[in-house]
């Protein structure tokens, strides 16, 4: 078989903001990445709405917007049974690049929302959320090797709620086991495209963004150390790059300090739009005019669309307008909560528009928009100190062909660049 001459290495750093890359490379905490920045191009780009990993990675691997690929979050509500379901790669309505270009050998490791692993020309180790290891691996012959390495898809983030030391320790050892796997696959040289996503970065920043923000934070050293380890791993992976090969390194969304959790369904409830009979979104009834799914997707509970939908199609527009006014005026601690309100037609297009949220919100800085009914109040302090951002996502490449792209691009464009790079 003809060897593909130019290889592409794709490295994802889940949630890592452009500003953090800037600061950690300047401070010397990420020396290898610093070199990459100096010899290549670093850009600030934007994520996709809603700015959450499942949506962003689905956009990256397909190069399509959610209106086309059909993944709008980690959760969907059944229009008939109101059961909460969790879309996986089988819900993706566009082909990921490895299926589109199946002549290329691809090693795809730890990319979120690629579970369950399907057959492909190469290797697939699915990323978050991968509940069963055996179904996260293709070919199946690798399962035993992974088990021997102590490979686990993700750290158990529940630990962070009870024992932060342990959680941080887990993050380091998880990174170690992932690097082992990368070494193993890289050394076999059976790939034209190698893609790995660091996801521990996102976990760390959710719980410990404050450690980066506050100089005297007890976990500050650990936070910086973690990124130094990530930098070492990047260096190891990039050692496989040969002249003419392309490196594409980027994040799927940014991060910032979380100031307050905002429970949007409670806000709707206060204004008479939302009624649930329990602490579960599936207990809503026909009195509900609109509901929210994580993180900031608002669906109008329309008659004929939802089994118990109470909003007549003719009234939908009026309900949306009323809702938009309420959201635009919402304040917490004297600050506006919502920065921008988008109708679905403004941000999405394609054959999956039917399952798109009617309205998507972009929050003001520091506000973490949530759908959970776990809080009775509209806003509350959070146990998390970091939250995702739409802005401040980064993109870094060694390939001048991708350096001149317009400033104003998003992770969807990154997906298109991946295709361009691997089909050169």
């Amino acid at each position: 078989m003809k060897k593909h001459s130019k290889k592409t290495i794709i490295i994802g750093l889940d949630g890592v903001p452009y500003s953090l890359i800037k600061s950690l490379t300047m401070s010397g905490a990420m020396p290898y990445t610093k070199k990459l920045v100096e010899n290549g191009t670093l850009k600030r780009i934007s994520s996709v709405l809603p700015e959450v990993s499942s949506v962003a990675w689905s956009s990256i691997i397909t190069g399509e917007n959610p209106g086309r690929h059909g993944v709008f979050g980690f959760t969907e509500l059944s229009k008939d049974t109101y059961a909460l379901r969790f879309p996986n790669i089988n819900d993706l309505r566009s082909l990921p690049f490895w299926d589109k270009h199946s002549a290329l050998k691809c090693a795809i490791i730890n990319v979120p929302s690629t579970y369950p692993a399907r057959s492909l020309n190469g290797v697939m180790i699915s990323g978050f959320v991968s509940p069963v290891l055996e179904r996260s691996v293709y070919p199946a012959g690798l399962i035993d090797i992974l088990k021997e390495m102590g490979y686990e898809t993700d750290v158990d983030s529940n630990r962070a709620h009870t024992d932060m030391d342990c959680f941080v320790e887990d993050l380091f050892s998880n990174l170690g086991s992932h690097l082992k796997l990368c070494r193993y696959l890289l050394s076999r040289d059976l790939w034209d495209v190698f893609m790995y996503v660091f996801t521990g970065t996102d976990r760390l920043m959710h719980f410990l963004w404050a450690a980066y923000d506050e100089e005297d934070h007890p976990y500050r050293a650990a936070f910086i150390q973690y990124f130094t380890e990530v930098d070492r791993a990047i260096a190891e992976i990039c050692a496989s790059l040969e002249t003419g090969d392309t490196l594409l390194m980027f994040s799927d969304h940014g991060f910032e300090r979380l100031r307050k959790d905002i429970f949007l369904n409670r806000l709707l409830e206060e204004n008479g739009f939302f009624t649930a009979n329990g602490e579960d979104i599936s207990t809503i009834d026909s009195r509900t005019k609109a509901f929210v799914l994580d993180p900031s997707r608002i669906y109008i509970h329309t008659e004929g669309v939802y089994r118990q939908g109470g909003v007549k199609p003719d009234d939908k527009e009026a309900v949306m307008k009323e809702l938009e006014n309420i959201l635009a005026d919402a304040t917490v601690d004297g600050r506006k909560v919502v920065k921008k309100i988008y109708r679905k037609e403004e941000v999405y297009s394609g054959p999956s528009m039917d399952s798109a949220p009617d309205i998507v919100l972009l929050a003001e800085d520091g506000f973490n928009l949530r759908a959970s009914l776990s809080s009775k109040a509209v806003s509350a302090d959070s146990i998390f100190t970091g939250k995702h951002t739409y802005r401040d996502t980064f993109f870094l490449t060694n390939n001048a062909a991708f350096a001149d792209q317009a400033e104003d691009y998003s992770v969807i464009d990154v997906g298109k660049m991946i295709e361009e790079s691997i089909t050169r």
Binding site: F86, R118, P131, R135, N158
Partner: protein
């Protein structure tokens, strides 16, 4: 409403284009042709896999191989859903089977729902003794089989004597499986002559046809023909050396999923079915059971596991607009290592083939290239991508669904990060 008798005939290995009623003037099949002209003939009928056992299980349960997962002859069918015979028996039918080959022996589970199941390939102990003496017994599926198949006259004969024995109790359901057109292992003369007088493929088909004629005449004589619905199909087709396999012209069906191996004849006749109709409407084997049940006036909606749909109205009313149906097909031989697996999707005029091991893909325009000689995937990449999506999703079923049990694990992980 009285229920009609049902005679369900499976012509093992018989190609649709090797019957008179499908336009082949070189083969004389007057009995089948008469049934076709008294009924409805579907020109575009497909099986879902070209292997006898798995294909029958699909027909009997209206589920695809990706669902029932029987991939081999000689392994026990794990039948999780009610079968054709079972449903009919529950609706008061006397059910009987007359199979022509050991592949469908009751030990593999195909007898489910049949009150009478005749799978004896030999008639008397003497035959067994003779075959054994000459060393013609053969190990197959972990057992010794003295004789692998039997001739159409024995299949028909057994059916007629069963009818007599039951006193023509109505309604009855008979499944007759004719194996004569299948390529068989040869016995030396004169035994071979005694058993397999007509080994030529065309002549075998003509021979089966005469036996079907015999059955029809008998039913007419007993005045039960007019209350009988005939359903005729094949479990799969046959490649007659038109394609190469492993460097040689291929005669057989299980290794290649070209249309000559997948397409089948399909005829519904009698019991109010329109006369002399030839339809272009696509028909899949999974549609056979729902269609048969509704033609016999039985509700089938309660059988939610059916993966096909009833196309009965095409048999009863004129000018029903054609309906596009995706056809999934495969050829997978898990024990035969190295044989390429084919996954096929036919949608309208397009046929898309994906070979998971080699990742090769093919796209054929069946209207312009019915012989499937020219791969035009590079001219229509968007068609191929759409079809591949559908196919990959279907194939995912093969890996088993443990989705529900995973939900709690997913919830826990999402909650920990505040995503729920």
């Amino acid at each position: 409403m009285t229920r009609p008798n049902i005679v369900f005939i499976v012509l093992d290995c018989v190609r649709y284009d090797h019957l008179g009623c499908y336009g082949n003037s070189g083969i004389k099949t007057p009995a089948i042709d008469r049934l076709a002209s008294a009924g409805v003939l579907f020109k575009n009928a497909y099986s879902h896999c070209s292997m006898t056992g798995p294909s029958h299980l699909t027909i009997f349960t209206s589920t695809l191989p990706i669902t029932h997962r029987l991939r081999l002859n000689g392994s026990a069918a794990d039948i999780g859903s009610p079968t054709m015979a079972e449903i009919l028996k529950d609706n008061g039918y006397a059910t009987a089977a007359f199979v022509g080959a050991y592949v469908l022996n009751k030990r593999f589970g195909f007898d489910r729902g049949f009150l009478f199941y005749d799978d004896a390939m030999t008639k008397e102990p003497f035959e067994d003794w003779i075959l054994k003496l000459f060393g013609y017994s053969k190990k197959w599926a972990d057992t010794r089989v003295n004789k692998f198949s039997r001739n159409a006259d024995r299949v028909t004969g057994s059916a007629i004597s069963w009818l007599k024995k039951t006193g023509f109790r109505s309604p009855f359901f008979m499944w007759l499986h004719y194996f004569d057109a299948h390529d068989q292992f040869r016995l030396p003369q004169p035994l071979h002559y005694y058993y397999f007088r007509k080994r030529d493929y065309r002549k075998s088909i003509e021979y089966i046809d005469r036996q079907i004629g015999r059955l029809v005449r008998y039913l007419k004589k007993k005045d039960i023909f007019k209350d009988t619905l005939f359903v005729i199909t094949a479990d799969h087709g046959e490649v007659l050396n038109e394609y190469e396999f492993m460097g040689k012209p291929y005669r057989g069906h299980a290794a290649l999923a070209y249309n000559v191996a997948l397409r089948v004849p399909l005829i519904f006749s009698g019991n109010g079915v329109m006369q002399d109709k030839t339809l272009n409407q696509t028909f899949r084997h999974v549609d056979l059971l729902p269609t048969m049940l509704s033609l016999a006036g039985m509700p089938f909606q309660k059988h939610r596991q059916f993966e096909g749909e009833s196309l009965a109205r095409y048999c009863l009313e004129e000018d029903i607009p054609e309906k596009g149906l995706d056809i999934y097909a495969e050829t997978i031989q898990p024990t035969a290592k190295g044989l390429p697996e084919w996954r096929v999707l036919v949608r309208g005029k397009w046929k898309y083939v994906f070979m998971p091991q080699s990742k090769e893909e093919f796209l054929y325009d069946l209207e312009k290239d019915s012989a499937e000689k020219t791969n035009i995937i590079h001219s229509y990449p968007e068609v191929a991508v759409e079809m591949k999506m559908t196919l990959l999703k279907m194939m995912e079923k093969d890996r088993g669904s443990t989705e529900a049990s995973c939900d709690s694990e997913v919830k826990r992980a999402l909650k920990a990060l505040g995503y729920l």
